[in-house]
Symmetry: C2
Subunit: 327 residues, 2 copies
């Protein structure tokens, strides 16, 4: 049997109330009593039951974190930073991999509510996940706008798309193609694409965009990329909306005997540690993942503390163009 507070009390010769007070450093307690209680706790290896505490306090110090998939380095890195920062603030993180599927997201939200999380950080591209049932639940959206009631933290996707496209143009590319994820999901990729289109038009170039219908199936991605080369043999620049996609482009280009960057220039997006290590030559737009995590947590904690007043609606953090050998 696990030790409980009454066991400690018995051994220390005090009441459970007193033990609780020692535990919580509340009220006056004689030094002697305090020491006795500590000794008793040591003796029977007592650890407070945080479940019971939470029930009383109506505060769990639990945060729900919904991401598409931690195996994607961007989300893996984001999850790492979010959890690390939370841990340092004495918050615990319940991990949820949604695969961007709305049914899973809804189930996760319900699960988080049932578990009385204090708040949720969600990287989700489906609207309406946080509807009726979760009105009073503090939520921060990362990477995409969810609703006017939910603060959003993202990086400057438009600027990133703009910088990427302008770089390709400045390097002399004439036929630039953009490849992005599923548009039906309102991902940040849409803003990157928008920027690409605007820059292209401004430069009197024809925007050509391809859409990957499924973010999680490499073969579909490969097929789409292959189609780009088939349908646009003249392509000399590709802006891919994430680094994994860019890596697939690199592979396909090499397979087709193209010299990078001479025949084809490539820019990715995200600039995670993993992609910068595994494919260090890739030119990419780097997102400030740690800042995103920190900012999201700052805002969420404010919401949790009930500081509705000075919570910013939308925070957009700067990105950084990393020039490698693919441009």
């Amino acid at each position: 049997m696990k030790a409980k507070i009454s066991d400690v009390a018995k051994i220390a010769g005090v009441s459970p109330t007193t033990v609780s007070r020692v535990l919580n450093n509340r009220g006056y307690i004689s030094k002697e009593t305090r020491e006795n209680v500590y000794k008793a706790m040591k003796e029977i290896n007592y650890f407070p039951n945080d479940i019971a505490r939470s029930l009383f306090n109506k505060r769990t110090n639990l945060i729900g974190m919904i991401v598409p998939q931690t195996s994607n380095p961007f989300f893996g890195e984001l999850a790492f930073h979010i959890e690390s920062i939370c841990a340092s603030l004495n918050y615990k993180v319940l991990l949820c991999n949604s695969l961007n599927r709305i049914d899973k997201e809804k189930k996760y939200v319900e699960m988080l509510i049932r578990n009385q999380v204090d708040g949720v950080i969600a990287v989700t591209y489906n609207r309406g996940i946080f509807d009726s049932e979760s009105q009073s639940l503090p939520v921060v959206a990362v990477d995409h706008y969810l609703s006017k009631d939910i603060p959003t933290v993202s990086s400057d996707n438009y600027s990133g798309g703009k910088q990427a496209t302008e770089l390709l143009i400045s390097k002399g590319c004439k036929h630039i193609v953009h490849i992005n994820g599923p548009l039906k999901l309102e991902t940040p990729a849409n803003l990157r694409r928008k920027a690409y289109e605007n820059v292209m038009k401004k430069d009197r170039k024809q925007p050509i965009t391809y859409e990957i219908s499924n973010t999680f199936d490499r073969n579909i991605q490969r097929e789409t990329i292959s189609k780009v080369f088939e349908e646009h043999p003249e392509v000399d620049g590709i802006f891919a909306s994430d680094d994994l996609l860019a890596a697939l482009v690199v592979a396909e280009a090499q397979k087709r005997g193209k010299n990078i960057p001479r025949d084809l220039k490539i820019v990715g997006y995200d600039g995670t540690e993993a992609s910068q290590t595994l494919l260090p030559g890739l030119t990419t737009v780097q997102q400030p993942i740690e800042s995103i995590a920190q900012t999201a947590i700052d805002i969420l904690l404010k919401e949790i503390e009930g500081e509705f007043s000075n919570i910013p609606r939308e925070i957009c953090l700067p990105v950084k163009l990393l020039e490698g050998q693919t441009t």
Copy 2:
């Protein structure tokens, strides 16, 4: 205020007991009552408080998962599979990033105990994390042996190291160097190294191993790799104990104008989706990450259910050599 069971009871015109029975599908309940209760729950948007349930049931359906760092694709992928499988089994996952630091690991274990997790899956290379206080806590160790009481799931690191080394030899390498992570941590890398040494000796070659003192500092890793080339200009084969390290080797070799695989052949380890996408040409030993996750969960659930009898002590899953263009 959040709705509670007594609110539902009042609206449905029954006692809390009855609502609870409907919720848990226990005992006989007239169809009419059941429907009234459901209607009431809908009406006030009631969700059971799992914290309160857990307190009574002494069962949280919570699993603690300790990994070094989800930003490393291997652990990000493992975390993804573990959480996904857990979710399908109605378990929730508390994420812990330990950075392999024993102080953090100990804190996390205490936190998990306080939160009454039903069990822990730990990828940890420091012994003695699960000591006295956690005797009765179900634990599964992944990727490394922790103690004789704790079941271990890993992949066949020795075979992987053997296959990697033999491949390099069979491709004609004469001077093969092995680079691995910190040896003071009893990581699986040690077995890979052991296999390398044995194969080398059997082939009457001199094993040469380098140790990376810090897994999380790319610069230290780069320096060590640089030293390999300085001290062993004759090197024509390198077996790196993970793919990220292998990628750094590739980069350094290219910087030094070496042609891969002509002048230098490289084998990595892990074969994650991310590394296979970002660096698809890398020859590597692929770990069966999803199977590792599944097996660890199977065993943990058995421990949780108290089936001590047929729990295997150690499970070792097969690895797969993936030949790319670096050998």
